[in-house]
Structures are given as C-alpha cells and as structure tokens.
C-alpha cells in the first residue's frame, strides 16, 4: 500500500466554528498542519469604495456593519477621523457618553467572544450565561440608539441624542405573575444610567461564574495552554494590537498610550499576559471585562452629575434641534443643507484610531475638500491578526485551528469590509 503523504483539507466557509465565512486551505501531515491558507473576501461589500460616493455622515451606518460585534467602536474610529479633519471637538458629555458606550461595546464583544470560543472548544454552559448578560447590554444599545445592533448613534460633533431618562420595561403577559414581572423590571425603573449602574454591580459576580466554569477547568486548559504561542517581538512584528498583543506581554493600549476622548481622566488598568498563548489571551480578555465595568461605573457617575449638550452647537456640521428647525428659517436652511449635501471638509489626510475590543480600529481619510471622502481606508484589527494565522498554526493539530480562530476573535465583516 502506498505511503500516505500529506493532503489538503478544506475548512469552511460555512463551518460553524469559522465565525462567519472563513475558508481555510489546510495542508496536513496526518493530524498536523503544515500550512494554513486563509481565503478571505466572501463577505466583501466594498465599504471603503461605498464611502467615497456619499456624504460623510451617511457612511456612519456602514461602519456598524464592519465589525458587527463592536458596532459603536467602529463608528467611533470613523467619526474621530472626521472630527480631526474638521478640527472640532465634541462637548464633554458627548465624550463621556462615547467612552461609556465604547466600553459597553467592549463587554458585548468579549461576552460573545467568550461564549463562542467556549462553544467551539467544547464548553457549552458559558455560552448560555454570556448571552444572558449580553441581552441586558443590547437593551441598553436599543434604549440609547434605537437599534439592537447597528446603532448609527455617533455623529461628528457628538452623539445623536442624549441618554434617555427611562429604560423600557417588560410588558405584563399571562406567563408572568406580578411578582415575577416586578423582579424582571427591577433594574428598569430608572434611567439607562441607573440600569447600567445596576449592571455594573451584578456583572463582576457573573464574570466570577464564567471564570469558575472555565479558568481552572482541565479540558479548557488542555485545549488552550501553550497553543499558538507568539512572543512579544514577533507579535509586534506581525502588527498585532489589542488583546492579541497584550496577551504576548506588550502593554500597548491606545486608551493609555494615545488617550482619545476622556480616557486620560478615567482610572483603569491594562492587563498583560506573559506567555502569548491562547490561554493568556483568554485571561487578558477576562480582565478587560472587569476593567470595562470599572470604566462604565466612573462614566455613569460623571454623567449623572453633569448634564449638558451632547452635540456640538455648530450648524455647519451638526444639524439644529428639531424645535429650532421648525421655528427658525435659518436653522431650516441648515437642516436641509446638512441632510442633502452634508458638510465639506478641508483638504488633507488624517488618521484616527480607537482601541476597539479586537485591537486598533483606525480610519484613514483623504479629503480633497469635497463633502465626501476622496478615499477612506479602514484599518481593521482582525484582518491583520488573521494574516498571522499561517505562522501561528503551523505544527499544531487540526483541533487547534478552532481554538486559534476563537482566540483571534475574527469577525468577517471587518476582515472583508
């Protein structure tokens, strides 16, 4: 019988563990991978090209759909670039709201990552618990922006609307007694800030639960420890950012190193790993959940004490309030002008980046002075992480592919754009 040599295995694009539409061509030597070739582009929607054809504001909604696990962070990177181009700064309250929503987004992203990563590796239970908490935060998203995922909430010069004073409540149904309904609506009696405050108080116990289920679990450790190790120097050379880089022991976090918005006023720590394996990246993300909770807590306190405008009072960039628009001819003209033509930016090039849950999300805009970008380049963290896949997976077993995809935290909306 002929000696069985290497063979090629097609993984995905519809594999449930491929987190979207990743197609991998794996060259295998028995169970061992000798080469992995990611094929991307199955979710390409041409966001960058699309943005060239419409006024700046109209592309905000498309940013949500890049990394659809970190909606508001993407908007943030894009909006920040426009603001830099225009040379405007949003009111302080808007900055706090943005930071708070960014951290809510980070928790949303990490919860989904934890659930699905666990599911891929074989831990079903954590998935159920993380989605319970996600639901609460998605309700916050919905109360604030009107959409559970694709928020379109940030605007150059602030955010669309202030945080609502009331949190939506569950309606009575025949399935729930009065007492149970009251329990379900307990945290929803007050405003969104009260709800988030309550969430921040109960969330650390939930993280403890996830950690009890996973951190010490022997199967979890066997699947994660010493899998796909990347050293700090190599991680930097590969262009890693976010938890991928911090897991390798490099304390690089844009929130600390290049503070944007109000991150320099907030107190939080940046967790750093030591080994650079999947397990360390897991630990880093778990600690980030706790740190995000801390940041949200501080923002809630500040926002409660400091009401104020959330949008820049500059009718050339940000539309007037509806009341003004209906009373005042000049405002009406501004309103029409902004919603048809938008605003023109000075010619130039800018790059602005935020620390999105997955790493550095940046937007690079070239403007020729028109009301739409001449060129928009998006720097997605996942695309760069995915391109290191081949190097990371070589010599590992087939089962480790799933672990690595989970640990990379790839999302294809962002890789393919």
């Amino acid at each position: 019988m002929a000696e069985f040599q290497s063979y090629t295995l097609n993984f995905g694009p519809q594999h449930p563990a491929a987190h979207g539409v990743l197609r991998l061509i794996l060259e295998m030597e028995g169970e061992t991978i000798t080469r992995a070739d990611p094929h991307v582009g199955l979710l390409h929607r041409g966001t960058e090209k699309l943005a060239e054809s419409k006024p700046y504001n109209q592309s905000i909604g498309y940013m949500d759909r890049l990394d659809y696990m970190a909606m508001m962070c993407n908007e943030h990177g894009y909006v920040l670039a426009i603001e830099k181009l225009l040379g405007i700064e949003p009111p302080l309250r808007a900055q706090y709201i943005r930071v708070m929503m960014d951290e809510v987004t980070r928790i949303l992203n990490h919860l989904l990552w934890l659930g699905t990563h666990g599911l891929d590796v074989g831990a079903m239970t954590a998935f159920l618990y993380t989605f319970r908490e996600r639901e609460d935060l998605i309700d916050v998203y919905e109360a604030v922006s009107g959409a559970r995922m694709h928020a379109a909430y940030y605007r150059p010069g602030g955010v669309y609307r202030d945080l609502p004073e009331r949190m939506p409540k569950y309606e009575p149904t025949p399935y729930r007694g009065e007492k149970e309904l009251r329990e379900m609506n307990r945290a929803r009696e007050g405003s969104v800030l009260d709800f988030l405050d309550d969430f921040c108080h109960r969330f650390p116990a939930c993280i403890d639960d996830y950690e009890t289920l996973l951190t010490e679990n022997r199967i979890w450790k066997q699947r994660l420890v010493d899998v796909c190790v990347v050293g700090p120097e190599r991680a930097k050379a590969l262009g890693f950012t976010g938890p991928m880089l911090r897991g390798s022991g490099v304390a690089w976090d844009l929130r600390k190193k290049q503070p944007y918005e109000v991150y320099d006023r907030l107190d939080f720590d940046v967790p750093v790993g030591t080994n650079g394996d999947c397990y360390d990246r897991y630990l880093v993300r778990m600690e980030e959940l706790r740190q995000s909770t801390r940041i949200i807590n501080q923002c809630v306190d500040w926002l409660r004490a400091n009401p104020g405008p959330v949008r820049l009072d500059d009718p050339k960039v940000s539309p007037p309030s509806r009341e003004e628009m209906k009373d005042d001819m000049e405002s009406l003209i501004h309103h029409f002008k902004l919603f048809t033509e938008g605003y023109c930016t000075p010619p130039g090039e800018v790059y602005a980046a935020v620390e999105a849950p997955k790493g550095e999300f940046g937007a690079y805009i070239v403007s020729d002075g028109a009301n739409k970008p001449y060129r928009l380049k998006i720097r997605p963290p996942c695309y760069i992480h995915l391109s290191a896949m081949d190097e990371m997976i070589r010599g590992h077993m087939l089962a480790d592919v799933v672990t690595l995809i989970g640990s990379l935290d790839v999302v294809f909306g962002e890789v393919d754009r």
Partner: protein, 162 residues
C-alpha cells in the same frame, strides 16, 4: 508542596465540582427565556423598525415631497415622484421604500422636516414574495394610520432629546 497540592486537587476534580456548583445554582434560578410570540423583549420609543408615513389630525398626509429622505438615504432605498396638486401644494405621486435595500439607519426619520416618514416599533413584518419588498405609499400610509397612537406616543416621549 505545590505539585502535591495540585495533584490532589486534580485528583479530587475540585475545579469540575466548582463548575458544577455554578450550573447547579443556576438550575434553580428564574429562567430568563421569554415565551416569544406572546412575550417580547422591551422596546424603547427610539426603536427603528418598519417605516410608516403619517398624516395630520385632519387626515391630510404630512409628506410635502421635499425629498430630503430620498437624498439622505445611504442605501438609496427611497424613490419619490412628486407633482403639484390643484390646491397648489406639492405631494408625492410615488413613495416607495425598498425594504431589502434599507439598512434601518433612521436617517430618513431624522431628516424629515414634517415628521412624516417614521420608523415604527413593528419589527416582525414578513413578505411572501420578493416583489413585496417594495412598499408603496398606500401601504406606508396604512401602517401609519393603523399605529398612529403608538407612533405619536413614541415621538412625544423622545421629543425632548431630538
């Protein structure tokens, strides 16, 4: 000492039992599952669902065919044709939204100067064929008439923020 302790812990399945305790505890907690068709997740007045066109209390349609919503729509989902009526006002002869193109961004509602096009709370609408994705003016006005009370209450609740 440490390796020995680790060994004993691992032998006694300590971490697995701790994990089991967490799941055991949750077994007796209130279930968070909603009985879907009867129970739904709470929705805020800002919810952006199916579109509707509104009327003034006297029955006149609000839309003045200014085409702002058409211009602002990032997905180019709105198509409007207009004419001048006998009384001199401008009205739409055609107002179509392609629900497959729409990304539910809410910009149309944000732009409309007379609060005519709105996004309602309706989030489970269904189509039986592809052609039904384009909803016309009659259907939009019909939705508006049907849910006017809810729509008006939602706009009133959110008015201070806009």
């Amino acid at each position: 000492m440490r390796p020995l302790r680790e060994y004993v812990r691992s032998f006694l399945l300590v971490e697995l039992l701790q994990g089991l305790r967490v799941t055991g505890r949750h077994l007796f907690k209130r279930s968070v599952t909603l009985e879907f068709p009867e129970e739904v997740a709470p929705k805020s007045p800002r919810f952006r669902g199916l579109h509707a066109l509104r009327r003034y209390p006297n029955g006149e349609e609000r839309c003045i065919a200014c085409k702002l919503c058409e211009a602002v729509c990032p997905a180019l989902a709105i198509t409007i044709d207009s004419h001048q009526r006998a009384d001199g006002t401008r009205r739409t002869t055609r107002y179509e939204i392609d629900l497959f193109k729409c990304i539910y961004c809410g910009f149309c509602e944000e732009s409309c100067p007379v609060d005519s096009i709105v996004e309602t709370r309706i989030d489970w609408h269904l189509m039986e064929s592809r052609e039904q994705r384009v909803i016309g003016k009659e259907r939009l006005l019909e939705i508006g008439d049907q849910y006017e009370a809810q729509i008006a209450a939602d706009r009133a609740a959110d008015a201070p923020y806009r």
